[in-house]
């Protein structure tokens, strides 16, 4: 299956920042929680959104029929 890009540049940048923030508040900080399960969930979600932003393709967008890539092209 060829991955058709479905993520705009703004979305990608936001996801990278979001991913780093989630990894920080997961295992590296006790700001919100020091629970193991919560940390695992945060790292899993962070990993997913960082990988998806690096390849520019989000499986959730794909399954939900959404795209931020086209919206950006239309605006420009």
């Amino acid at each position: 299956m060829k991955l058709q890009r479905n993520m705009g540049s703004l979305d990608q940048g936001f996801r990278i920042l979001m991913g780093i923030a989630l990894i920080y508040i997961g295992p590296f900080s006790d700001i919100i929680t020091n629970d193991t399960l919560s940390s695992i969930l945060l790292v899993s979600v962070a990993t997913m959104i960082i990988i998806s932003s690096l390849i520019g393709w989000c499986p959730f967008y794909y399954l939900a029929g959404l795209s931020s890539y086209r919206a950006k092209s239309d605006n420009s």
Binding site: I32, D35, L66
Partner: protein, 346 residues
């Protein structure tokens, strides 16, 4: 399940979804409450164990911590102890295995943790009881805050995405269903309704007209010398003319009439709420429109049309008979060289 019968499919799904969500949250709260209680018990036992390990004399320890209760383990050890305004049964609750540091005793209306004191000297081993507080709401809330906030946000996040995905899936399936239905009920070349759609519509109209005591007209149209066009100029020309005929029919009939293609150059019309005498002018307009020249690929072609019409309920009361009568009228028109013929009841 009788309770559910009055609800729509969507309402049933939503209620089942909400029930499972509430059940899931309740089970999670209970699990976290149990886990936090167990954690606090382990901390209490571990703390007392450390105190006892660093103490050689129990008396000194008891002076510092007066809420401890010491029960010597010898031949006179009682089965039940009155402790902190309730009774705990030692014999049933405590199973001292080698290496165990302590545990929980559940009393009538209270609970206590126990630790084993094993001195090095000649002192008798003893059981140390202390109240275990399981009603500390701040500790429970703190455990909830710490453990539940991220899983709950994750649950909501995944639920929202799941709903979006399901919504998209349903939309795609609906689109495919509509496409399949359209293909099943329409002619691929002209996009007019096909025989199945038309017969359903006529049967619906028969039921409606019978109830409301109304009449309608069924007309059959056949193009004259169409076979000749196909044979001389090729099927592509023929197909282009059929598409043009379908377009002219759709433009000429009224909004609530139905035009369909049965196959080949045979078209049918359902003209509602009128008999064929009152719709004769409409049939004339259709005929005039159909015999106008056709411009196909730089060629101008002229073809004729034969139209036969029959009435419900004057000429027949079933679709088959109505169609047969209109077809017979159409053949009469064709044998006369084209035009419009109304069915005459013999």
């Amino acid at each position: 399940m009788l309770f559910f019968n009055g609800f729509s499919y969507k309402a049933k799904l939503i209620s089942i979804y909400i029930s499972f969500t509430v059940l899931g949250i309740l089970l999670t709260l209970v699990a976290i409450n149990n886990a936090s209680r167990e954690q606090r018990l382990l901390e209490q036992i571990s703390f007392t164990h450390q105190l006892l390990k660093n103490t050689s004399s129990l008396n000194n320890l008891l002076k510092a911590l007066p809420h401890f209760k010491v029960i010597p383990l010898d031949n006179n050890t009682p089965d039940a102890v009155n402790f902190d305004n309730c009774t705990v049964r030692l014999a049933d609750s405590i199973n001292i295995s080698p290496g165990s540091q302590g545990g929980l005793i559940q009393g009538d209306s209270c609970s206590a943790s126990w630790n084993l004191f094993t001195p090095d000297s000649n002192q008798t081993p003893a059981l140390i009881l202390q109240p275990f507080d399981n009603d500390n709401i701040d500790t429970i809330l703190s455990a909830y805050r710490n453990r539940i906030i991220i899983p709950v946000i994750f649950f909501i996040w995944i639920t929202v995405w799941g709903s979006l995905m399901l919504g998209n899936l349903v939309k795609r399936l609906q689109t495919q269903k509509n496409e399949v239905e359209h293909i099943a009920l329409h002619d691929a070349l002209t996009s007019l309704p096909n025989r199945n759609y038309f017969s359903d519509k006529v049967n619906e109209q028969i039921n409606y007209s019978r109830r409301k005591n109304k009449s309608f007209t069924l007309a059959v149209i056949d193009l004259n010398k169409f076979k000749q066009v196909n044979d001389e100029l090729g099927h592509q020309f023929g197909d282009s003319i059929l598409v043009e005929v379908a377009q002219r029919l759709s433009e000429t009939i009224r909004e609530y009439d139905v035009a369909a293609r049965l196959g080949g150059d045979e078209f049918v019309l359902l003209l509602v709420d009128a008999d064929c005498h009152s719709t004769f002018s409409l049939l004339e307009r259709i005929h005039e429109r159909l015999v106008e020249p056709y411009h196909v690929k730089d060629r101008v072609l002229q073809i004729g049309a034969s139209i036969g019409a029959a009435d419900y309920p004057e000429h027949a009361t079933s679709y088959e008979q109505l169609f047969q009568n209109a077809d017979a009228a159409m053949y009469q028109a064709k044998s006369a060289g084209g035009g419009i013929t109304l069915y005459l009841k013999r």
